[in-house]
Structure formats: structure tokens, C-alpha cells
């Protein structure tokens, strides 16, 4: 593929991400926003591929789309009737809080844009000394080796952390007494 097509597909997926993300936050119906969140996650995985992070892309799909999203859906579905029915619709129109939120988001966006555009990324020190990943590299192999050597401690801590989160969530969500 030449540059042109790559960029078109990239921009298509970028647009998909952005549009679906926007729809997620604007939609009143929770179910629809969760499903659009699903679309966003998949589009993000596609974007990861363009950054030559194939393992991360798959991990994203498996963990997020297959784990988090399903968890959300199930939690939402299996909750009480009242939980379902107490979904307040977002107040239509622009309220003050909405206005503040939009303002902050736009402001932050403006700041980030300004910083990003002003920065000459290609001429950063570490960028010039970096060794980029080629498309023919085996990132899985890379990730595996790094996990067991450089990032071993975080990996173990992460597993303990996951166990903590598991126990904690299970305890919090138990029926009967409250914590």
C-alpha cells in the first residue's frame, strides 16, 4: 500500500473513533452509547495497528471490547429494574454545567492543540536518537522479553493488583450487608 491509501484508511478510522466517541457522550440512551463505545474501541484497535502495535491492538480488543464492555453490559442488564428505570435523561438543552463542561473541554483541546502544533516533534532529541520499530519486527516477541526482564516487577504487581481488584469488587458487590 502506498501512502495515500494508508492515510485514507487511517483518517477513516480516526473519524470513526472521533465520531463514535462524540456520539457516545452526546447520546441520551445508555444502551446505545455503550454499543457505540464498542465501535470506538474497535476503531481504536485499528488505529493501534497503524502505530505498528499489533499485540496492543489485539489486547485492546480482547480486554476492552471483550471484557470491559461485556462487563458493563452485563452489569447494566443484570441490575435492578429501578436502576434501569432511573436512567435520567440528560436535560435537554444547554445548562450551565453543560456549558462549563464544553468550555473546559474546548479549552483543554485548544491548549493541547496549540502545544502539539507548536512542538517540532521530529527534531526532539530522543526522537533523533530513536530506533523505530519496523513493520517486519515481531512486537509480540519484544513485549514478551520486556515483560520478563525489564518490566518484571510491574508485571507481578499488576497480577497482585488484579487479584485485589477482583476480591474488592466481589466484596463490594455482594448481596446483603454493606461495606
Amino acid at each position: 500500500m502506498n501512502m495515500g491509501e494508508e492515510q485514507i484508511i487511517f483518517y477513516f478510522f480516526a473519524a470513526s473513533v472521533l465520531i463514535s466517541a462524540l456520539c457516545v457522550v452526546v447520546m441520551k440512551n445508555l444502551v446505545r452509547s455503550i454499543f457505540l463505545f464498542f465501535v470506538t474501541l474497535f476503531s481504536l484497535a485499528a488505529l493501534y495497528l497503524f502505530a505498528l502495535a499489533d499485540f496492543i491492538a489485539l489486547a485492546q480488543v480482547i480486554i476492552y471490547a471483550g471484557g470491559v464492555l461485556v462487563l458493563m453490559l452485563f452489569a447494566f442488564m443484570l441490575s435492578n429494574r429501578e436502576l434501569l428505570s432511573s436512567l435520567n435523561p440528560v436535560v435537554s438543552g444547554f445548562k450551565i454545567n453543560n456549558f462549563a463542561g464544553i468550555l473546559i473541554s474546548l479549552l483543554l483541546l485548544f491548549i493541547l492543540f496549540t502545544v502539539i502544533i507548536k512542538t517540532d516533534l521530529n527534531h526532539l532529541n530522543w526522537m533523533q536518537e530513536s530506533v523505530p520499530i519496523n513493520s517486519s519486527d515481531n512486537t509480540t516477541h519484544l513485549i514478551g522479553i520486556q515483560t520478563m526482564t525489564t518490566y518484571l516487577l510491574p508485571f507481578e504487581i499488576l497480577s497482585v493488583f488484579l487479584m485485589m481488584a477482583l476480591i474488592g469488587a466481589a466484596h463490594l458487590a455482594r448481596k446483603g450487608g454493606k461495606s
Partner: protein, 101 residues
Amino acid sequence: MIPIAHFMLISACLFCTGLYAVLTRRNAIQVLIGIEFMINAAVLNFVAFGRYDKISGGGQMFALFAIVLAAAGVAVALAIILNVYKYFKSIDPTKTNTLKD
């Protein structure tokens, strides 16, 4: 190749969208989704910068860790939301205002 700036811009947009969702949504689950957006934007950023790091692959590693942490966070957050609902009978964050003066 796609310039890294594009990735960063998309990440910035996604982040701001997530921030908007956190600040203005009346449903705790939608707030959670907003948080997820912000984490995903960070992950995108990690991945974009990780392309230039073959030596230690830090970007992709941290992206992995971030995804795992986000998932754990979602689980705990949902449990919390459940408890909050039991007490306040609502998942509207504006209703949980007992800390009000």
C-alpha cells in the same frame, strides 16, 4: 508513515471528549465511559510514541499495563456504583450531594 502529530491530535480530541463526558453526564456509567475514553486516549498516545522505541518497548508495555489497570478500575467502579445506588437510590452523580454545605 503517519506523522506522530496526527496520533497526538486524535488522542487529544478523544481525551477532551472523555473529559466532557465526565463533567456533564447525569449517569454514573456514562461517567465511567468517559473515564475509559480518557484512558484510551492515553493508551493511544503511548502506542504512538512506542513506535519509536524498539530498544525497550516502553510505550507498548505501558500501554498494556494501562489497559489492564483500566479494566480493573472498571470492575471496581461498577461495584462502587452498585453500592452508591443502594444508598442513594439513584446513579445520578448530582444526587449524591450529602457532602453539601
